[in-house]
């Protein structure tokens, strides 16, 4: 009987698969964070990072005096080495952000300026979208964030209200991303046929190079709704990030689309979250998404050749957005060319 009980206990204990655990100490939490990133972060190879070396460097900064705040600062500095806007460490007293993907560059966007000098505070807004037909006869649409839902009816009404415009400016500057399913919703309004929109892969194990084969995904045109098949100029800046970055990467491959402004901010990895023993949360890039050309856009999407434009601070002082002006001029020139041909 005793042997049977021991055998059953052994069977149950053996069947419980091992889960690594760390002590809830300064060192334990550091090691947990390092290991979670080591096993799940997806851009070590792409960015050429030696995570072992980085871990050693920052672990050496832990002393017997290191408290929770000190640990947070050491961990945040270590995470900054990933140069990834999708990486955050969340504690009860602070959340770490890597900001250099936008802070090292000109902002190239001033919404107040556009509202005051181009839209004259008179425009239609709803679901994160704001739009108006500009005096030059081109449509202007701003989309704040892919976190805001867009109603299909609102999109229909917007495109119908701009139907006299030969071209559309779609401003996604300062759009920090949000829900990637809305990228498909919006892109599908500009399609006349099915397109390969990109590919996604995932880690298949803890090794830095363990990835699945990229899985291609496709977008179809929204045949039941109003679509825009005329010229589109997409405006970008360094704060165009994550889902907005993916939106630009796909739009750029469409024949009637020109991307104007600055390189986007990147943010190409789909984020994943996990937890440390002390209860802090960590978010990081886990699944790389390839653009339709099969390229990673973690470092951003460049504007169309010849369309890299910065905002001129002096012109901005006088109420001029030189990126928006460049886009208007492109569409007006096209409009005049079309008129001449007709």
């Amino acid at each position: 009987m005793k042997k049977a009980v021991v055998a059953i206990i052994t069977l149950i204990a053996g069947a419980c698969h091992n889960i690594p655990s760390w002590e809830n100490s300064v060192e334990g939490n550091f090691d947990a964070l390092w290991t979670i990133l080591d096993e799940h972060y997806c851009f070590f190879g792409y960015k050429g990072l030696d995570w072992d070396e980085i871990g050693r460097e920052y672990r050496a900064q832990i002393t017997s005096e290191t408290d929770a705040r000190g640990l947070f600062d050491i961990c945040s500095s270590m995470l900054d080495r990933l140069e990834d806007g999708h990486v955050n460490l969340s504690s009860p007293f602070a959340v770490s952000y890597y900001r250099k993907w936008w802070s090292d560059y000109p902002q190239n966007f001033d919404w107040r300026l556009i509202q005051e000098h181009y839209l004259e505070f008179d425009y239609t807004t709803g679901g994160g979208l704001s739009y108006k037909e500009l005096p030059e006869g081109v449509g202007y649409v701003r989309y704040d964030s892919f976190a805001y839902s867009m109603g299909e009816s609102f999109l229909d009404a917007m495109f119908l209200n701009l139907k006299e415009c030969p071209g559309l400016i779609l401003d996604v500057r300062d759009n920090g991303g949000g829900d990637v399913t809305r990228v498909e919703q919006l892109v599908s309004r500009f399609l006349d046929h099915r397109i390969e929109a990109g590919a996604i892969c995932h880690k298949t194990g803890p090794g830095h190079d363990e990835f699945s084969e990229p899985y291609k995904f496709y977008y179809d045109p929204q045949m039941q709704h109003v679509r825009w098949l005329r010229k589109v100029v997409v405006l970008t800046n360094r704060s165009t990030f994550s889902a907005a970055n993916q939106f630009v990467a796909i739009m750029k491959t469409l024949p009637n689309v020109i991307v104007v402004g600055d390189c986007t901010g990147g943010g190409d990895g789909m984020p994943f979250s996990s937890s440390l023993p002390c209860g802090w949360g960590v978010r990081f890039s886990a699944s790389p998404v390839y653009d339709p050309m099969g390229q990673l856009t973690e470092w951003g999407v460049e504007p169309t050749e010849g369309c890299r434009v910065d905002m001129d601070p002096e012109a901005a002082f006088n109420g001029k957005d030189t990126i928006l002006d460049f886009a208007i001029a492109l569409l007006v020139k096209d409009k005049e060319k079309d008129s001449a041909l007709n």
Binding site: H17, K203, T204, G205, S273, P277, G279, S287
Partner: protein, 282 residues
């Protein structure tokens, strides 16, 4: 060839159908129990977090058992449904909540051996389908780990019919462990968004005790007060799966409180005088 197959099929059906035909002299009442369970829960789901979570679990369950038609004295079947909810806090920080919900349906058939002094032993097999979810609200892009499985395996048990004073008491113990089946799991770092995009390769995994271990134990005591039966019990359950380096573990200890009844449906307006024998499931 087809003719031979048809003849064989008819022969098999002709053999099996009488086994399931009702014997008018035997009545097989249904032993039906409704239960509430409450206890402690330990969860770990490394797709969401490497931490362990402790908290409580509650469940509502229904079980019905009936002797089989083909050999009511020695075989019975059970049909069960159970819905459970767990709320747990991360260990040791206890500042993150993880929820788990699960719906299970199972069917089992067991042979019964009647030993001396009210002791019976049971052995047979079961099949179970379940679907559930782990939910960690704090995880923005991966808050959910969905679970689903269909498994089969052996089920064994023992019961003892005795008395506590003047009250008839039935003590029963059953254990079941799936040996094979299929279960759902994304790959190591696969987001549900990728599945939404259409990549459904490799989501269904084969189960065996090495990658999918589950042991459900149920110990109950049924106190019969006339037509009503009061049930109390204890159910320790262990589950651990590992696939694509994702480990899922649930360990729970629940106390059971329930009521049961043994009933039979009598058709027509007159009692069936042919009934000679009433055979209970247990």
């Amino acid at each position: 060839m087809i003719r031979r197959f048809v003849v064989l099929f008819i022969a098999v059906v002709a053999t099996i159908v009488p086994m399931f035909a009702d014997d008018p002299e035997i009545m097989r009442p249904v032993y039906s129990a409704y239960m509430f369970e409450a206890g402690s829960s330990h969860l770990a789901e490394t797709y969401l977090s490497p931490l362990h979570y402790d908290g409580w679990t509650i469940a509502l369950a229904h079980r019905r058992a009936q002797a089989m038609r083909f050999n009511p004295l020695h075989w019975h079947m059970e049909l069960g449904g159970r819905v459970s909810l767990d709320r747990t806090l991360a260990r040791p920080a206890r500042n993150v909540v993880e929820w788990r919900a699960e719906l299970e349906l199972d069917w089992s058939m067991m042979h019964k051996w009647r030993l001396e002094k009210g002791l019976k032993l049971y052995a047979g097999g079961f099949t179970r389908a379940d679907a559930g979810v782990f939910y960690l609200a704090r995880n923005g892009n991966n808050p959910v780990a969905a679970k689903a499985s269909w498994t089969i395996g052996p089920k064994v048990g023992a019961s003892y019919d005795g008395r506590l004073g003047r009250v008839p008491v039935a003590l029963r113990y059953f254990a079941e462990m799936p040996l094979t089946g299929i279960f759902f799991s994304p790959a190591y770092g696969e987001l549900y968004y990728e599945i939404y995009l259409g990549n459904r390769r490799g989501l269904v995994r084969g189960a065996w005790p090495g990658n999918y271990f589950r042991l459900d134990n149920t110990l109950t005591a049924d106190f019969r007060f006339g037509a009503t039966i009061l049930r109390v019990g204890y159910a320790p359950r262990v589950f651990s799966s590992k696939t694509s380096d994702i480990v899922t573990r649930t360990v729970s200890h629940s106390f059971i409180f329930g009521v049961a009844q043994e009933w039979t449906a009598i058709g027509g307006t007159k009692p069936d005088t042919r009934v000679q024998n009433i055979i209970s499931a247990y």
